[in-house]
């Protein structure tokens, strides 16, 4: 029996090989490589990333694939698990390129992993389109093969500053009379965000009255908020990952601090609406993308179509990490078509010339490889829901500025 089974296995294996070989010769397959965090501390977002890539592959392949020159190619991705550790990520990138012969890379999850992999792809002149590394420092090293579809960290809250300037009149001021209070965590990523806010504030001539750097183990910011209450700034900007958003939302409400505008990052990961209910109302939150945006493309349709398809496939609404990952695949598909070749150098040049509208937003890279065409969006929490209020071109509703005073709220 055992012998028979072995024979059967060998036969099927041979058949499968033959079938595989014939399939490959009949149509072409472009295999991209990706090291994604499927275990470890980034496993949740790593899975969102992989799901985003896979959904885009499926939709593109179901539509027949990508036209490259006179051939039509299917897309595929070879995945490895980087275990959320940068060193492992770099090792796997090396393996994908050298052993598996991958000529195109998709990005991992997080800035840290992207930072570890970028030198490898650069060394082998393999293009990498990444969707989850937002740190500014990725784009100051002169990398030629790195392209990012997402907005980088210094843009995270810049739209909040612009919104403050637009609404200065409602607060009874001119844009250059507006004062800002910053409470931003003391880590490289958050400090990038701070740098962006500072630049924009300078542009409008706004004054910074509080500039506190929150500690990593933050769970109380009453001393900062006491200062804010005394100085009465027009805008309070908070960024300190999920704990910053949670602590600020809770304590601003507890201390009944009245500020015309409060803008934060990481509201969704802190789940401020679910946890704090009314206390979260009118908070402005930065996000890369929202399903309600009116962007659309030919592959997925509108942003909402993408969200619905994603939910149908994976059983949950796509967070922005999944959306930007899917967009990275669209960017590759577009570049393959325009390059008319699978030569990495030609594809790289095509990528550099990308000017593409997607359901995730417009993608156009500057010479450092970051996407300069897509703005960050700002949500405002209105009646227990996130509503897009900026940039005004894509807004669903007008931002409520100034926020009602606590004494006037029910």
């Amino acid at each position: 029996m055992i012998r028979f089974h072995k024979g059967l296995l060998a036969a099927t294996a041979a058949l499968a090989l033959a079938a595989g070989a014939s399939a490959a010769s009949a149509e072409c397959v472009i295999t991209m490589g990706a090291a994604v965090s499927l275990t470890g501390k980034y496993s949740t977002n790593g899975t969102h990333t992989k799901n985003g890539y896979n959904l885009a592959l499926k939709v593109i392949n179901d539509k027949g694939g990508v036209k490259v020159g006179d051939k039509t190619c299917k897309l595929a991705v070879k995945y490895y698990d980087d275990e959320s550790t940068p060193a492992r990520g770099a090792e796997l990138a090396e393996r994908l390129i050298k052993q598996d012969g991958v000529k195109f890379m998709l990005g991992p999850y997080s800035s840290g992993l992207t930072k570890a992999i970028a030198p490898v792809t650069e060394k082998y002149k393999v293009p990498m389109v990444e969707a989850n590394g937002a740190s500014r420092s990725l784009f100051t090293k002169g990398y030629k093969y790195l392209f990012a579809v997402l907005s980088t960290s210094e843009q995270y809250l810049a739209s909040a500053v612009a919104l403050a300037a637009e609404n200065a009149e409602k607060m009874g001021k001119k844009p250059n009379q507006i004062t800002l209070a910053l409470a931003i965590e003391n880590d490289p990523f958050s400090q990038d965000i701070r740098a962006g806010v500072m630049d924009d504030a300078k542009k409008y001539g706004m004054k910074i009255v509080v500039d506190d750097k929150l500690p990593k183990e933050l769970n109380d910011m009453t001393s900062t908020l006491t200062k804010v209450r005394a100085l009465r700034p027009d805008v309070l900007v908070v960024s300190g990952h999920a704990k910053g958003a949670a602590t600020a939302t809770r304590q601003i409400a507890e201390m009944k601090i009245d500020i015309p505008m409060v803008a934060m990052t990481h509201c969704d990961s802190a789940k401020i609406i679910k946890k704090f209910g009314k206390a979260a109302e009118y908070t402005l939150c930065a996000s890369q993308w929202a399903p309600t945006l009116k962007y659309s493309d030919e592959v997925f349709g509108s942003a909402m179509d993408f969200a619905k398809l994603f939910e149908k496939t994976y059983g949950y609404m796509p967070p922005y990490q999944a959306a930007e990952s899917a967009a990275a695949v669209l960017v590759y598909a577009d570049a393959f078509q325009r390059a008319g070749s699978t030569d990495p150098q030609k594809v790289r040049d095509a990528l550099a010339a990308t000017d593409l509208m997607t359901f995730y937003g417009k993608v156009k890279f500057d010479e450092t490889g970051k996407n300069i065409a897509k703005p960050m969006v700002l949500y405002q929490v209105l009646n227990g829901k996130y509503v897009v209020v900026a940039p005004s071109k894509w807004a669903e509703a007008q931002a409520v500025i100034p926020r009602p005073k606590w004494s006037e709220r029910k």
Binding site: S223, T226, W406
Partner: protein, 299 residues
């Protein structure tokens, strides 16, 4: 300097900072009671102190998720942590009671890392809060705000301190604990089961931290890596107050809490913890000088 001006021009801010400092200081003091006890009786510096606080917070969250008031989390966390402390003693701590201080530091450090990772695996690294359902006091036209849960924490810290003092003075076990801390060998000769005394001491410490954690999750927030600041501050308070001085622990706790708030206000939040460490160095140097003088008297 601007910030100092602000404090002088708007004196009411001092009240807010002082009160906020006292509230958080009371919680520090609660964790520090336990550290002083374990250190004094067993000669172990428990590095897992902050992790007990963190565990207390998560137990309160579980109580809340079961549909009960998170206020019940205070006794629940204390009881669960008491049992856990006892078990930890029976499995690990008894092996290191008589060992070198370095070994006990390593062992409790190991326990702390294990607890962090375990909680991260079970609950994830999200920040969590529990709503106590208590409200706020608004004083001076909303210029000073006081959350009632923090007042409760303050009162509880005093009550527990008093209860602990009475327990050590009056009860049989309390007397045994004190006897053991003075001279374990003599205590053993006189028929005190020192092993049981140590187990009780360690368990009481864990229970105190658990109660503190329940208050932290209702007044502030908690995540698996929140422990270290509580360990550092407990350590600092015990150094300042000395061992076996519960009144001193409360005073040092409140003082530290207030000093930190003012430092955060004047120097910016980024220097708040740096200030704590600076204070630690100053206190250590000062104590060293005082002790040196005393030694000269003895000569």
């Amino acid at each position: 300097m601007d910030n100092l001006n602000l404090l002088i021009q708007a004196p009411i801010l001092n009240v807010q900072l002082l009160l906020d400092g006292l509230w958080i200081g009371a919680i520090f003091a609660l964790a520090a009671f336990g550290m002083a006890l374990v250190w004094g009786v067993m000669n172990i510096i428990n590095v897992a102190q902050g992790e007990f606080v963190m565990l207390g917070g998560f137990i309160t969250l579980m109580v809340m998720e079961a549909g009960l008031s998170p206020l019940l989390g205070i006794p629940a966390a204390a009881i669960v942590l008491f049992v856990l402390g006892w078990l930890l003693y029976r499995v690990i701590i008894w092996r290191i009671v008589d060992a070198d201080m370095f070994i006990s530091l390593l062992a409790t450090f190991g326990i702390s890392i294990m607890m962090q990772q375990l909680m991260n695996e079970i609950f994830g690294s999200d920040v969590r809060t529990a709503e106590s359902g208590l409200g706020m006091f608004y004083l001076f036209d909303n210029m000073v705000t006081v959350s009632q849960i923090k007042v409760l924490a303050f009162v509880l810290a005093f009550a527990i301190g008093l209860a602990l003092w009475l327990f050590l003075k009056r009860s049989r076990l309390g007397q045994a604990i004190r006897a053991t801390s003075q001279n374990p060998r003599a205590a053993r000769i006189l028929g005190i089961d020192t092993d049981r005394v140590y187990a009780a001491t360690y368990a009481i410490n864990a229970a105190l931290c658990g109660a503190a954690g329940a208050l932290v999750v209702m007044a502030y927030s908690i995540h698996p890596y929140v422990g270290l600041p509580y360990t550092v501050r407990s350590f600092m308070i015990v150094i300042m107050a000395g061992l076996g001085n519960l009144g001193g622990v409360i005073a040092a706790g409140l003082g530290l809490g207030a000093a930190e708030q003012f430092a955060g206000f004047l120097l910016g939040a980024e220097y708040q913890l740096a200030f704590v460490f600076l204070l630690l160095v100053v206190v250590l140097v000062w104590r060293q000088m005082v002790l040196a003088r005393r030694r000269q008297y003895l000569k």
